[in-house]
């Protein structure tokens, strides 16, 4: 009975939608994405169905569903998850002239299983007039004892911190990365807690001197209903640190086509759309992220923070180093 019912529903559902839908598993929860999905629906007539959850959960779900999975696309907010999905053989290599031509090499998988859609950089913020900017230079330098009691940062369970450390591992190896993490822990003004915005607010209100946060939160705080967020960010300024032998740490949001995608053609169309000028402009303006498509400008607000030299290590290395990073955090006592 159950089987019949399930089958019936499936047949019914597939006959109604199959020809004109694309099923998305997404980690991103932004309103911008909702708008983009609607734009795509209007433009192509292809209906976008979405399930949103955390990266690990979606990957587990894809794995469990196997060949029966209805998912066509996996979208996540960092390279680590895309890498995990690829290593678990959940994504397929796709051919798209548009993506091949327009997405820079370091921002896509070498086998074309996934492509970056937006970039965000992980930076430091300090209080205007505090003189802290004179001390700031590289990420490596944040472990220097001169910052003792000055650094606030969120917990190491957070993927943004894991990716930053993964980049450190890539640049300097595990031993140096551990030393660095220990140094930063020794310099913390308080135990890690709260999200990126909480770190910015803490420094604005006199706890510590340097906050580590992602750039797009700055944009979100500037345009916020919450006066305490606007007040806090008004007192702060962004500083773009670099790696000694590289640039400012960037991570990506990206998308890949799932291995058993039932609507592969639609899926490719959808990713191409997300990498199109229109979509990239919306990503850049509404969510204060950096576009991946050359020629699309950042929003005025984002540009006002200044330009920076981007780190060029391939983002899939961040994924490969992720598990190592978590272990190093544990060893360093970074909560």
């Amino acid at each position: 009975m159950l089987k019949k019912l399930a089958l019936g529903t499936l047949v019914l559902a597939s006959s109604v939608f199959a020809a004109s839908e694309v099923n998305v598993y997404s980690v991103r929860h932004y309103d911008t994405d909702k708008k983009l999905f609607k734009m795509f629906e209007e433009k192509t007539g292809i209906k976008v169905n979405v399930v949103k959850a955390k990266g690990g959960a979606l990957i587990k779900r894809l794995k469990s569903e196997g060949k029966n999975s209805p998912a066509d696309i996996l979208i996540t907010v960092d390279a680590g998850n895309l890498y995990k999905a690829k290593s678990a053989d959940l994504l397929q290599s796709i051919e798209s002239d548009y993506l091949a031509k327009n997405i820079p090499t370091n921002l896509k998988d070498k086998d074309n299983t996934w492509f970056a859609l937006t970039k965000r950089s992980r930076v430091t913020l300090y209080k205007i007039g505090s003189g802290t900017e004179k001390m700031l230079s590289t990420y490596e330098d944040l472990a220097d004892p001169k910052f003792k009691g000055k650094i606030v940062v969120r917990s190491s369970s957070n993927i943004y911190n894991q990716s930053l450390l993964a980049a450190m591992i890539e640049h300097h190896g595990e031993a140096k990365a551990l030393e660095w993490a220990k140094g930063v822990v020794a310099n913390m003004a308080r135990d890690p807690k709260g999200n990126d915005r909480a770190q910015v607010k803490a420094v604005a209100n006199g706890i510590g001197a340097v906050a580590i946060a992602n750039t797009y939160y700055v944009g979100k705080m500037v345009n916020n209903k919450d006066a305490s967020q606007r007040d806090a960010i008004a007192k702060m300024k962004v500083f773009f640190p670099t790696f000694k032998n590289g640039g400012t740490h960037v991570n990506v949001s990206g998308a890949g086509v799932t291995k058993y995608s039932p609507n592969k053609a639609n899926a490719i169309k959808f990713i191409e759309f997300l990498a199109s000028t229109d979509a990239q402009e919306l990503f850049a303006k509404a969510n204060y992220e950096y576009p991946v498509l050359a020629g699309v400008k950042s929003s005025d607000l984002v540009s006002s923070w200044g330009t920076f030299k981007e780190d060029t290590i391939s983002v899939d290395r961040l994924g490969e180093n992720n598990a190592k990073a978590v272990k190093i955090f544990d060893k360093a006592g970074w909560k």
């Binding site: 499936l10 399930v51 779900r61 990126d196 006199g206 598990a323």
Partner: protein, 528 residues
């Protein structure tokens, strides 16, 4: 042969079905030690154990004190606003713990509104100059959880105290014991099973919490499970941690059973009379009011006021057509899930009662374990289970409403079973014997005697499970079908983007639905 009856067989089948996700997790406890596991042992495992224990003890202590004292005061005494507290004391139950934690951080953390207000008042620039306590700490997490979870103790103790015949108290009074002596020598000893049952529920809820500890930066088993799963990419080691947590809880349940052994619940219908409440006046009246008001204020009024303020600022941006759909989806899931669970739990408890075999009893206790497993871990178990079915039958249940409902059964049957167990205590065994002597058929007994008598427990179970479901987060999030949202999931998404103001809009609806349910529950209890 005693196990071969329809009820036992169906409850065995149901238990097996419902235990599968937990078993799929539990087998990992025997998995060989991996390099990751060695790493966990060397670095953070001890901290997970210590912090989880600390939270368990802290929450047990605070919820017992708050829950039992208020249950006692409102049952035994009448004072100016006592009938108001009868309802109000359950209200914190309507607010999800993680939401209260955001509200408290928003007010009291180092950059919270109240902290900044004090800063302003003192004319100081830097928080560090005036800051005295950080709510975002393990102690803060314990306080926040206890404020929301004490109603478990309150509810169970209150139901128990009301149902206890007044005669024992009257007898104590006649024997010349004063209120304090009655409280310490009579009430506490006889209430112990109820206190322990309520506290265990609160502790199970606390120890499987993710939202509060994650936001407050406290490492526990649950944050460890996520970290190991998501960060280290090892679901096996994460499951091993989860299975350790389950063993923990299992021991707790055994202890509870052990302390209850040999304790006969003395309940017989005939001497059931309402307790004659003592009227409090003067200073005692004020004191009783203060004692009852504090938990209501900190557990409900304060977070509610703060949320209302956020709600007013942001509702226009959040409420649209999609929001109405999401509201209906939440309601549908809540009602459907609660009915299902209330029926299933009845089968379990009733089997134990009429067949009194060890097998059914053990099964029922096993099913209760599900409540201790964090929602996300249950979801993983459910995914693994259904993916096997999907592949075997070539159908697609994973990611359907059915999978979510199944997950709810795994997780929330314990609450429903607890409700029935205390309800059945009030139906004396002599009724069953009487039915037997009168040759009344099982079916007639069930419909004419048993169901009418435990109708209220069933109602209470329905309401409590409904509230749990509409608050539930990780399980729904992981298992839901395409384009399917609930209020809790949406609220969490907004918090994930740090849009705390906007997140208060769906959260407010959860609280309102919860409040309505809680009020219904309180009315039921009065009628009881």
């Amino acid at each position: 042969m005693k196990y071969f009856n329809k009820l036992t067989i169906s409850s065995v089948f149901l238990t097996l079905l419902i235990s599968i996700p937990a078993l799929l997790i539990l087998v990992n406890i025997f998995a060989p030690e991996t390099e990751n596991w060695q790493h966990l042992k060397d670095t953070v495992l001890l901290e997970y154990v210590f912090n989880s224990l600390y939270i368990m003890v802290g929450v047990a202590f605070l919820t017992t004190i708050i829950g039992f004292s208020t249950a006692y005061i409102t049952t035994m005494y009448s004072f100016t606003f006592s009938s108001f507290y009868h309802y109000a004391l359950i209200l914190p139950f309507a607010i999800p713990t993680y939401i209260v934690s955001y509200v408290y951080a928003g007010m009291f953390d180092m950059t919270g509104s109240i902290t900044l207000f004090i800063l302003d008042l003192m004319g100081k620039e830097n928080v560090s100059e005036v800051f005295f306590m950080d709510i975002m700490s393990i102690e803060g997490a314990i306080i926040v959880m206890s404020l929301v979870l004490y109603p478990y103790v309150y509810l169970i103790c209150k139901t128990y105290l009301i149902s206890e015949s007044s005669s024992i108290i009257d007898a104590s009074r006649t024997m010349g014991l004063n209120s304090w002596q009655i409280f310490t020598r009579v009430i506490i000893p006889i209430s112990r099973p109820a206190i322990v049952a309520g506290t265990i529920l609160a502790v199970m809820e606390a120890v499987s919490d993710f939202g509060v500890v994650d936001y407050y930066g406290v490492s526990t088993f649950v944050t460890g499970i996520f970290r190991t799963w998501q960060g280290m990419g090892s679901l096996e080691d994460a499951s091993k941690l989860a299975s350790m947590l389950m063993m923990f809880i299992f021991i707790l349940i055994l202890l509870e059973r052990f302390q209850r052994r040999n304790k006969r619940y003395r309940s017989s219908g005939k001497d059931f009379a309402p307790i004659s409440k003592i009227k409090l006046t003067g200073r005692k009246n004020v004191l009783a009011n203060i004692l009852c008001f504090l938990p209501v204020f900190f557990g409900f009024i304060l977070p509610f006021v703060q949320m209302s303020y956020w709600f007013i600022l942001s509702y226009e941006d959040v409420i649209d057509e999609d929001f109405i759909t999401l509201l209906l989806q939440t309601l549908g899931l809540g009602v459907g899930g609660s009915i299902l669970i209330t029926i299933l739990a009845f089968i379990f408890v009733y089997t134990v009662r009429i067949h009194k075999n060890k097998l059914s009893d053990t099964l029922t206790q096993t099913v209760k374990l599900g409540y201790s497993i964090p929602g996300a871990v249950v979801a993983v178990g459910v995914l693994s289970f259904f993916s096997i079915i999907d592949r075997t039958l070539d159908i697609f249940i994973t990611g359907s409403i059915l999978a979510i409902l199944f997950g709810y059964c795994v997780r929330f049957l314990a609450i429903s079973i607890n409700n029935y167990e205390s309800g059945f205590l009030k139906v004396p065994q002599s009724y069953d014997d009487a039915c037997k002597t009168m040759n009344i058929s099982e079916f007639t007994k069930l419909t004419k005697v048993v169901i009418p008598l435990i109708k209220n427990s069933a109602m209470a179970s329905f309401i409590v499970v409904f509230i749990e479901i509409i608050k539930e987060l990780p399980l729904t999030m992981i298992l839901r079908p395409f384009n399917f949202d609930t209020l809790a999931v949406y609220s969490h998404e907004l918090v994930g983007q740090a849009e705390v103001f906007e997140s208060s809009v769906p959260a407010m609806f959860i609280v309102l639905l919860g409040t309505i349910s809680v009020l219904l529950l309180a009315r039921k209890m009065i009628k009881d």
